[in-house]
């Protein structure tokens, strides 16, 4: 592009500035750890509740309570509280997508050793927490095919924000 311009707003914007470098498939794969609700991103492998229960007791219960209830960093498993107002938000009553369980545990837990779990451990823990919340059976094998199909109890509770500015208080 030539620079024979006199107004800054007519400066020709280049197709490409040419800064940065192309990402290789390998380096994308190394960082591309997210899991979408449709299961995109889930790795190979699988998990079961029984195995997850053991891992949970060892690595999670200190912060989230025995069986995922009542720990110092919050319950992950629902109980049947009388008043819905006082009810603690858990995977069972507040998480709209099962894939989020895998995604979040793998990226951020255990809090003090993030990134230390194997994919198999995360699958097992996911199975355990879904089962403890009464969402899947003890036998269900959790893997890239089954996890996205799990319908979470809370999914129907979520609505998108429809406010658009303007006087309405909502």
């Amino acid at each position: 592009p030539s620079l024979s311009v006199t107004r800054p707003d007519t400066v020709p914007w280049p197709i490409s500035f040419g800064f940065g470098r192309k990402a290789t498939p390998t380096e994308i794969a190394r960082l591309d750890i997210d899991i979408r609700p449709d299961g995109k991103g889930l790795p190979a492998g699988e998990g079961k509740s029984a195995a997850g229960k053991v891992i949970f007791a060892a690595k999670c219960a200190a912060c989230h309570g025995v069986g995922g209830i009542g720990g110092p960093n919050g319950s992950l498993v629902s109980t049947n509280e009388a008043s819905p107002k006082r009810r603690e938000k858990t995977i069972g009553n507040y998480w709209p997508y099962a894939t989020t369980v895998f995604d979040y545990i793998r990226r951020a837990m255990p809090f003090s050793e993030p990134g230390s779990l194997t994919n198999a451990e995360v699958y097992n823990l996911t199975a355990y927490l879904l089962n403890a919340n009464g969402i899947i059976t003890e036998k269900t094998i959790v893997n890239a095919q089954t996890l996205p199909k799990v319908v979470m109890p809370a999914q129907k509770l979520f609505v998108p924000d429809d406010r658009k500015g303007g006087p309405e208080i909502k």
Binding site: Y94, Y104, R107, V159, D161, I169
Partner: protein
Amino acid sequence: AVALVQTASGKTIQEGISVTELLPDDPTKRVGPLPGEVGTRSAFEKLVKKPSEISSRSPLQDFYGVITPSDLHFERHHAGVPAIDPAKHELLIHGMVDKPMVFTVADLKRFPSVSRIAFLECSGNFRMSKETLTPQDICGLTSQSEWTGVKLSTLFREVNVQPKASWFLAEGSDAAIMTRSIPIKKGWDDAIIAYAQNGEALRPEQGYPVRLFLPGWEGNTSVKWLRRLELSDQPFMTREETSKYTEPVKDGKFRQFSFDIDARSIITFPSYPKTVEKGWIEIRGLAWSGRGKIVQVDVSTDAGRTWVPATLQDPVLDKAHTAFRHLWQWNGEATEILSRVTDETGYRQPTLKQLTDARGNESGYHFNPITAWQIKPDGTVLFKPETT
């Protein structure tokens, strides 16, 4: 050469003095520290954020003007502040793009840049437990900086975002590997990949060396320590946009993806724990909206019966904390003072009752009620927990 008199000791006095230690009676008789490399804060100014385990609140009542000193910008993070070598940090953009690319921090700084003064507020910024709350306690999770970076739209063009992409994931490199899904429109509109704040590099607590900055949106979406953007045709439903940052609304439902910060204002002077004297008082505060400019702030000095427009400090900027002032002559009688902002979309800051009526709930994210301060006959100022 100038004789360097008392430089070191003068410097020591300036930096480390205790309030009880004696200063020179007459500073005109003692040459002070000569020009230095980095300035100091007076030891007489005790400015601190109020930390909890998960956040740290800005001392709004101690501020003047609208710029938040960078070291007093509120903090909210989910696994601490990572220590990052900027020479090794990179931003990957991939997914629904023609050219997945990696940018070093140096690369990002070469692109056309933009600066803007704007607030950043955590959407969980409301507390009202008791009368002895300061503005810092009530809503100290908002701060304002001049942010500089490259427009995300510039990078979108560089990687050739595909027409079908409708969302993107922003991912940090903290120990929470924080992630949020953002509608692509915001990326084209005014999103900034920011590397600077108030004239210098971002502070570590604010995302050093590079963060997403989404003007007017709930703070959590402006992902810090940004390492990756993935373009997608759907949201990723991360934990932070499902289990967190969603709020109860009517009929047992929960609102998701409520990004805009609703217009809000607060009187920062007088406020607890300050006391006032009878006579002229300049009521001072901050007002802002995530939906654009504010157009008016009304102040009431009679507990909400009548309202008077306050003076706004120029320039009134888009999505920015704006200072307002109202000159008031207090007659010494008990009263309540309140402020109420209206933004350019016509939205007027609601009362707590309007909010709870509308949402059927008394708390949650995006709570922005009118805040009242009680003025007692002895000049004591107390927060009024319920403004319904």
